[in-house]
């Protein structure tokens, strides 16, 4: 916001100086997604069956549980950033603000359910 006029700064115009970090984290998580998602898709298709006992046994392995937590961290952060870009391309002013708030609620709620479920299964309570 350094080069804007004072009134422009009051109105929140100009750069918020978060662009480079957003861009870099989108790419960092893209790398994390390649590792965790390829692992996940291959593991899922290699499971002997998708019945309850098989998926629970699979998720109770510490390695698999930690990989799933890392996947949720990387993928959810990544799509949170990605959907923000999409929203900013098509929505402006009031509706943009609402959409970003809903995006945050959506991502954090889904992540909380996913992490809780992974831990519950991994700790033997499912």
């Amino acid at each position: 916001m350094g080069t804007g006029t004072n009134i422009g700064r009051v109105r929140g115009l100009g750069s918020a100086h978060h662009g480079a970090m957003h861009w870099w984290r989108q790419r960092l998580t893209a790398g994390g997604n390649i590792v965790t998602m390829v692992w996940f898709v291959v593991s899922l298709f290699r499971l002997p069956s998708l019945d309850h006992a098989s998926v629970v046994t699979w998720l109770q392995s510490p390695f698999n549980a930690v990989m799933m937590l890392l996947l949720v961290g990387s993928v959810f952060y990544h799509f949170r950033l990605g959907l923000q870009t999409v929203i900013e391309d098509y929505q402006h002013e009031g509706s943009r603000f609402v959409a970003i708030v809903l995006l945050n609620f959506y991502t954090i709620a889904l992540a909380a359910i996913a992490v809780f479920s992974i831990l519950k299964i991994a700790f033997g309570a499912a």
Binding site: A30, I34, V38, H52, L59, F79, V86, A114, S117, A126
Partner: protein, 141 residues
């Protein structure tokens, strides 16, 4: 005036024609949004069904994975889920391929017209092949 057809034309808001690079650009966005909404919800629903125990998982499974002699509704929803699952694997491979393409372009490589088009087409060939291989392999097991 004679124009050298080997040279690129600048795109203009109303004067352009489709090329593979445009197609994969919009596909990257479409698949990203599909994975982040449908994919993420299905993934989380699946995890929470497992975590809720065998009975809850059985009813999830009946409508999403395997209808096993259940009624017409379950047959219909499992069929829909199969289509969604194949669609999401394709979307994933397509987004991964165009994502890697993005990372290469970010390095400043692959902007020569021919290379750029070839790489754009390759992402679609790769995602379709990977999806076919995975599902045919799953089918036969």
């Amino acid at each position: 005036m004679a124009r050298n057809p080997g040279r690129p034309l600048s795109p203009h808001l109303t004067i352009w024609k489709w090329g593979p690079h445009m197609l994969v650009s919009i596909l990257h966005r479409a698949t990203g949004v599909a994975l982040a909404t449908g994919g993420a919800m299905l993934f989380t629903w699946w995890l929470s069904a497992i975590a809720s125990g065998p009975d809850a998982y059985a009813s999830f499974s009946r409508y999403v994975i395997d209808a096993e002699g259940s009624g017409g509704l379950a047959m219909f929803t499992t069929l829909l889920a199969k289509v969604a699952a194949v669609g999401l694997t394709w979307a994933f491979f397509q987004h991964m391929a165009t994502g890697i393409r993005h990372l290469v372009l970010d390095l400043g490589a692959g902007y020569e017209l021919k290379t750029n088009r070839t790489f754009a087409r390759l992402t679609m060939v790769a995602s379709t092949l990977l999806t076919l291989i995975l599902w045919i392999w799953a089918w036969r097991n």
